[in-house]
Amino acid sequence: MIEVKELKKVYRVNVKKPGMMGAVQNLFRSEWTEKTAIGGISFQAHEGQALACIGENGAGKSTLIKVLIGILTPTAGEVSVFGKDPRKAGRPYLREIGVVFGQKSNLWIDIPVIESYQAVQTLYRLDRQVFQRNLEQIVGLLELEPLLSSPARKLSLGQRMRADIGMVFLHEPKLLFLDEPTIGLDINVKHTIRTFLRKMNQEKGTGILLTSHDLDDIDEICDDAVVLSKGKLIYDGTLDQLKHRYVTEKMVRVTGRPRQEIRLLLPGARVSAEGRTTKVVYQPGQYSSEEVLHAVTSAFEIEDITIQEPDIDEVVSRIFQKGEDA
């Protein structure tokens, strides 16, 4: 579905010297510098895949999306989506994809939401029955009924984003590009949007390429990830592998009255306690799960116990720590 080979995007940026002299000089002579947004990356995504693009600010995530939807021209390399070059595929390609930018609305802001939706029916040449069916589905799933008659300008950020995401599904895109779709939203709206996107991915097979700084978005919507750092691809694989590659420790959280000192049973583990809850962090190579469980059941009268997988927030934090150390 998506094939990226040695993609490079370099922006030419006007450099202005500071101060009054710099401003005057810039009037007569412009100085330019080059900024590499993407520095030669390659990866593939198959049809129906939900792929996350992870990276710090300025890593090249948004640039990648803009190249893939065909509005930016790569400086070098090849990009192909559905076997076509997005730059040259034109309007038929635009009918196959959907794009949502969290910070830029695709709705016409001064007219009621339903009119924007009806415009999509015309612009994408949708059959009336298909449009009606899709409209009913997105209105139901995203609870859009009360918003349809309001101009987008009068909606809250969360309402507007729900309406925006609903709009992009009206023409049944085969592939959806989402650039920070939940930025600034409250937890309930985030949950609604994540559940909706996951459902569409699983039931309709809509491919997703998602960038987000909210790692819960990534965890709940995507199975696979590419990680960009300073324009370079530093990981391409499943989210599970990503977690295990960067976070090797496991954690057991146990609530209950201590019977004996856990530190004596697992001297190599890090133990911290808060109230009646104790956290035991260990390296899988150091102790087996069986040994840890045996020690915990001996040391506590267990009321509750959880064995936690590495957290995606921690994974990303470690990736970028390593990037900075390097």
Partner: protein, 264 residues
């Protein structure tokens, strides 16, 4: 065409949404029109007869029609695309499966549609109440004027579109918009009929598309000697239209190639 009409309707609705601003935009230029009448009335009052080659009656008709053509698009509706380019929201246009040019033309057509109706009523009222002081055109002149004015409006839309596209290459859209407005107001005959320019300046104006947006259509209506027949005039308008469409394609192609969209 369905896409064009849908986008035109959206643009019209968007402009009607801001009621107060819309009504003020609609009516405030009438004050300027009254001012122009008084100014030219005073000038003719002192000299009498003709100024340049125009009689007072012709001038009053000229002012009314030129005003009605000039205020079809206001500053805010002219700058919609330029502002979108400036703040990056133009990306929404780029991902719609409709040609960029169709979107730009329909946006401006919607913006001027209602104003055109109001201006028609203003012209009608002007003729009914002040017809005795104006040159009333013949039916044949009106027949020539109609296609000429349609092409004039299209030319104006394309001129705004081309200048707006220049904003892809500069961070200061206001400078570009002011330059466009100054060139248009001066050379189109919106402020002073081109016929009153010094000969050399008149010749410069005739080598630009601007007079074909106001001066020429009004001259056709007044039956003035424009040194060209109606067929030639329509031909020249079509040539300028083709040039502006070509410029649009070149600029848009170049912009797409070098586009930078700031932020996430």
């Amino acid at each position: 065409m369905k896409s064009f009409f849908r986008l035109t309707s959206i643009s019209l609705q968007s402009h009607l949404y801001y009621k107060t601003s819309f009504l003020l935009n609609l009516l405030s230029p009438v004050v300027l029109l009254c001012g122009q009448y008084m100014l030219w009335g005073a000038l003719y009052g002192q000299q009498g007869g003709t100024i340049g080659s125009m009689t007072q009656r012709e001038m009053f008709t000229y002012i009314l029609i030129a005003f009605s053509l000039n205020n079809l698009l206001g500053w805010s509706s002219e700058n919609v695309l330029a502002k979108e380019i400036r703040n990056g929201t133009v990306v929404a246009r780029c991902i719609r499966p409709v040609p960029f040019l169709v979107q730009a033309v329909s946006e401006m057509t919607g913006a001027l549609a209602f104003q055109a109706l109001v201006n028609f009523l203003v012209v009608l009222a002007g003729v009914v109440f002040f017809g005795a002081y104006m040159e009333i055109p013949s039916a044949a002149a009106v027949a020539g004027f109609v296609p000429c004015v349609i092409l004039a409006v299209l030319l104006r839309i394309m001129m705004i579109d081309v200048f707006s596209l220049l904003c892809f290459f500069s961070t200061g859209y206001l400078g570009i918009s002011w330059t466009r407005a100054a060139l248009f107001d001066f050379f189109s005959g919106a402020m002073i009929p081109v016929a009153m320019f010094p000969e050399w300046l008149g010749n410069v104006a005739r080598f630009t598309p601007f007079p074909y947006m106001i001066q020429v259509p009004v001259s056709v209506l007044l039956g003035d000697d424009t040194s060209m027949g109606i067929v030639q005039i329509l031909g020249m308008q079509l040539v300028w239209l083709a040039i502006l469409v070509l410029l649009h394609s070149l600029l848009y192609g170049c912009a797409r190639k070098n586009m930078t969209i700031a932020g996430g």
